[in-house]
Structures are given as C-alpha cells and as structure tokens.
Amino acid sequence: MQPDERYGRRWLRATSAVFLKDWHAELRTRYAINALGMFVVTTISIILFSLGGEPASPEVLAGMLWVVLFFAAMSGMSRTFVMEEERGTAMTLQLQAPASAVYFGKLLFNLVLGAGLTLLTVVLYAVLIEGFVIRSYGVFIGVVTLGSIGLAAASTIIAAIIARANTKGTLYPVLSFPILLPLLMTVINATRLASEGTSWADAGGEFQILISYIVVVVTTSYLLFEYIWKD
C-alpha cells in the first residue's frame, strides 16, 4: 500500500471502485438488466397496441420514444442510491471514499445503464414501429447520445435526494419531471427534426442547449452532492 500516490490517481481508483462495486453487484443479480429490459418491451408493446396499425405523425412518435425512456429511467436509476440507503451501507461508503468519488462513480453507473436502456429502446422502436423513419442519422445518433447522458445526469442527483427522504419510489418522477422538462422538450423537438430530415447546422441550437444542460446539471450536482451525502 502506497499512500503517497498522487491525489488524482487515488481519486480515480476510488471512483472506479464505486462504479465497479455497483457493476459487479448488478452482474450477479441482473435485477436492473432484467427488470428494465422487460419494462421497455412492455411499454413499447403497449404503444404498438394503442396505435393499432394506424400511422402516427413524427411528432407523436418522437414524443413517445422519450416518454418510454423517461419512465424507464425513473424506474431504474434511483436504485444505486436507494439500495445503499436501504441496506445501510451508505455510511460504509461515506467513511471510505470522498463524496465526489461516490457521485461520479454512481453517475458513471447510471450513464452505462442509460446507454444500454437507450440502445435497447431505440432498436426495438425502429424495428417494431413502422411509421418511425429517420432521415438524418447523424443528427439522430447525436441527439439520442446527448439525451441519454442528460437523462442520467439529472436522474442521478435527484436519486441521491430521494434516497435520503422517507418515501422512495413515488416521489422520484415528481421531483425529476420539472428538472428534466427542458431536456425532454429539446430532445423531442430534435428527434422530430431528425426524423423529418435536417442538417447539422439546423439542429445546432438543440445541440448547444443539450450540451450546456449537461454541463450545468453535472457541475451543480458535483457542488451540492456533499450536502446531500453528509448527514
């Protein structure tokens, strides 16, 4: 054991330890993978039933895609923090790792979870829903990537808050929705643009908003996390 290593390296080691702990726990139980996979399949089939073969406009389909992603995030992304609180291991973590390492470790886990979720949803959506056509692939991939990063960033900090409150599940979408609304409105609009066909230049404003949203949310969360994490 060398305690004289540089702080940055020790911090990175602690951050990846937080991430890997959740990752290995997830691989052992496969709770999130199974539950969220089924969640996405179920909601998409409900959309299929309700459309009943009728064609829907690009606006409606773009909106529906993000409705599925929003609720999938709401059912899965609070778990990393709520589990620590329920098992009483939050203090174990608090005693060992710096608060910022915990935050970024958990954020990383939710980013990976969000990426998997988005990939699955988009693939199923594109295969199963006929009216869903993408004309500008590049823009669409960019929007979906930034959208899922933003979704994970905002969901992580709200998850940290609700894990400390007494009611865990029901409050999560209530608190997240106003925070996520700017992101959702932008990605829905950008997804519609991508499915109607657009250029990078035309969607540039949307990308600026998405990137600054992510930067603002992550910075604020990083600054405030210690207050939430410490009793």
Binding site: R13, S16, V18, H24, R28, R87, T89, L95, K230
Partner: protein, 207 residues
C-alpha cells in the same frame, strides 16, 4: 507521529430535540477515550461526528496531526467498527476488503487482506459471501475492514457486540495494540469491555 482529537462546544439537535450540548474534550496520541452514557444519550451520534459523517449543530471536532496530511483527510486516519455500519453482503470477505482498499485509493493487496482475515480468524471463510455469515463473523470482518488502512484513530462503538470468547480475545489484543500505536475511542455501556482509559466523556449529564 503525534495526533490529537480536539472537540469544543459540541451540540447536536434533531428536530428541536437536544441530544447533547456543551461537549468539549481532547485526547492525544497513545490515549484512550471512553464515551459513556445510557441508551439514547447520543453515544453513536458523537461517534458519527468524530468520524466526520455528521455535521454537529454547533461546535467542532478536529483531528490535529503533525504528520504529513493525507489527501483523503479524516477518512484516511479513522477506522470505525459499529453496529450500524453494514457490509456489502453479496460480496465475499476478500472482495469486501479489496473494495475497501480501492475505495480508500490504495492499490489492493491480497497479502494484506489475508493477513487481516487471519488476524480475526476468518481466513477459512474468505471466499464465502458475507450474506451467509453469522452476526459474530460479520463483526469480526468489520474489524478487518476498519484496520485496512492502519488508521491512527480506531473508533469502536459497542466493540464486543455479538462476539464469542475467542472474538473478545482478538478484539482485546487489537485494542491493546491500538493504544500504543495511536488513539483508541470506545463508546460502550459495559466498562468491562476496556482495561482503563485516559479521558472520559459522560453524555448522561450533557443535555
């Protein structure tokens, strides 16, 4: 390396209910601090403040050390064993220790882990998931977890809970070693748990 815990005017209030107030004390290296008080007098609360996981309503508790400051601050100097501290039950004893070293920013070493598990007589069960451990075995593993980074301050809240005679003997030897190496803090009701102390904080009179 000289080390000192110094607390001044600590007060803790939860929802307008005062747990304790006016707590001041100081212990220096190679000393034992006893935190005494009946149930509900705030022993665990004071322990949490010392460990830096709880911000007191008023006052402060500092750890002063003239050695090189560790970048992880208080976390690197304190090891805690307490009933409310939980282990990651889906992982084995070895994995828990390995994770602890990583979380503290150290390069994990299996030799150190084996040595610690040997010390608390858990080496045979090192690959079993903690979920299957008895509460006494969990308590032993908590000691191994608290000693991973060779803390200069060892904080024990109810040190003997769930331990059998062998376990008690192990803990006594750990306590004996710590009081020569640094500061030992014990919060307990049972004074037979420890063999003497230098400073006592009695919370019964501290409303």
């Amino acid at each position: 390396m000289a080390i000192r815990i110094h607390a001044e005017g600590l007060r803790q209030v939860f929802s307008r209910r005062t747990i304790f107030s006016g707590i001041s004390f100081s212990v220096s290296g190679a000393g034992v601090l006893l935190i005494a008080g009946r149930n509900g007098s705030g022993k665990s609360t004071l322990v949490k403040i010392l460990c830096g996981v709880l911000t007191p309503t008023a006052g402060w508790a500092r750890i002063e050390s003239d050695g090189a400051q560790d970048q992880f601050g208080r976390k690197a100097m304190i090891g805690l064993v307490a009933p409310y501290l939980q282990l990651y039950e889906e992982f084995s004893a070895m994995e828990n220790l390995r994770m602890s070293m990583n979380l503290r920013g150290y390069r994990p070493s299996d030799d150190v882990s084996r040595g610690l598990l040997d010390r608390v007589a858990l080496d045979a069960q090192r690959q079993d998931p903690v979920r299957g451990f008895s509460s006494g075995m969990k308590q032993r593993l908590k000691y191994a977890m608290a000693l991973v980074h060779r803390p200069s301050i060892l904080v024990l809240d109810e040190p003997m809970s769930n331990l059998d005679a062998d376990g008690t003997a192990i803990v006594r030897s750990i306590m004996h070693e710590q009081r020569t190496a640094g500061i030992l803090v014990v919060a307990t009701n049972d004074l037979t748990d420890i063999d003497g102390w230098d400073t006592e904080v009695n919370l019964n009179a501290a409303r």
